[in-house]
Amino acid sequence: MKLFFLLVYSILWISCNRQSKEPSSNIIIGRDTNVFRPEVANPYVSQDISPVDISYYPVDYPVQKMTDPSIPLPVARIIYSRPQRQGRSIFGSLLKFGEPWRLGANEATEIELFQTVRSGKQTLNKGRYILYCIPQADKWTIHFNTNIYSWGLTQHKELNVYAIEVPVQKIVNPLEYFTIVFQKTDAGADVIFAWDEVEARLPLIF
């Protein structure tokens, strides 16, 4: 019996810890409006309304590295800005179908591959790329481009190195903040792009 309680409580403990590290999507929406405060007095640089964020694969790589200092290099990391919905209609409205979108805000979204990976039938060499997409109602074309360290508003098509068409799926809980996250798959990992009521998955094989 004691063992049973120990089991239940350890599962509970783990669940609660997970909860504090990975807030559910419900919490995301509740917190959005007061997460940042515009600061007039900051003489340096005010907070971006679309703050930068970083996603690694393996997920939470820097945290994992604390417990396992010998962990090999990550597979990939993405640095992107997180625009928020703010009651607007996003796809087909704020973002026009058929027009390029930087998959974020401000600076172009950057993916760094720490090793060569495959996507579809294409091999992507290790290195840095920027990502953008051309959204449609039912599918997105995601482009890898070498115009790194650029602002995301203009795309140089001649620097495109790879494009893949991926389907768009509806998600249950609409997201206030644009979100990019990696999710493990049998073949490697998907890069999930999610915002408003949709998500698209870019498969990476490694």
Binding site: P23, I28, Y44, P51, Y149
Partner: protein, 193 residues
């Protein structure tokens, strides 16, 4: 005993529901959001405007904790301890050219920035171990350079921790500002083609 069991089971069920909600693993917005700065300042904007006159020198990616009415230095950031100069992931600096810091040649590449904060001076540290969380596993053996710089008082308090590049006659200062203090880490670069 039955009651305890029942209670345990309901807790268990609640935990399961939570775990399922977490299944999507979509991250919330960070309380200390990330930001990045380039030198030349606003390089990505200059790039799309075809206004670049100088090659890319450096980029810093850091998280921006907020004072939020707390006492920052000496309490939240303890004196004499290694601090990640930000929040969450440790602050990353990348040099796209070789630079000189504190009379030491620093080869181009990615580094992690830390600081040991004191009331009147900060020791700024460049360390080779990248993609790390905080300063919890900071290893002095991987330091590339340390430089100690004086603390300057700000006329107005900055609520959000800020890092900016400032051009000065001798080169560039990497300025760190939070609460009512700022420090500047000077660096120079020569091998611009």
């Amino acid at each position: 005993m039955k009651k305890i069991l029942l209670f345990s089971f309901s807790l268990f069920a609640i935990a399961l529901v939570h775990a399922q909600q977490n299944g999507a693993k979509l991250p919330a917005l960070d309380k200390s959001p990330m930001d990045m700065v380039y030198y030349p300042v606003n390089y990505p904007i200059l790039k799309i405007q075809d206004k670049i006159t100088q090659p890319l020198i450096s980029r810093v990616i850091y998280s921006r904790p907020q004072k939020a009415n707390r006492i920052v230095f000496g309490e939240l950031v303890e004196y004499g301890q290694v601090w990640r100069l930000g929040a969450n992931e440790a602050t990353e600096i990348e040099f796209f050219q070789n630079v000189r810091i504190a009379n030491k040649n620093i080869p181009k590449g990615k580094y992690t920035l830390f600081a040991i904060v004191n009331p009147d001076k900060w020791t700024l540290i460049l360390n080779k171990e990248t993609d790390v969380w905080g300063a919890f596993k900071y290893d002095e053996k991987k330091d590339v350079v340390r430089t100690t710089v004086p603390v300057q008082k700000l006329p107005e308090s900055a609520d959000a921790f800020s890092i900016v590049f400032e051009k000065v006659t001798s080169g560039v200062n990497l300025v760190f500002a939070w609460d009512d203090v700022k420090v500047a880490m000077p660096f120079t670069f020569t091998d611009i083609k």
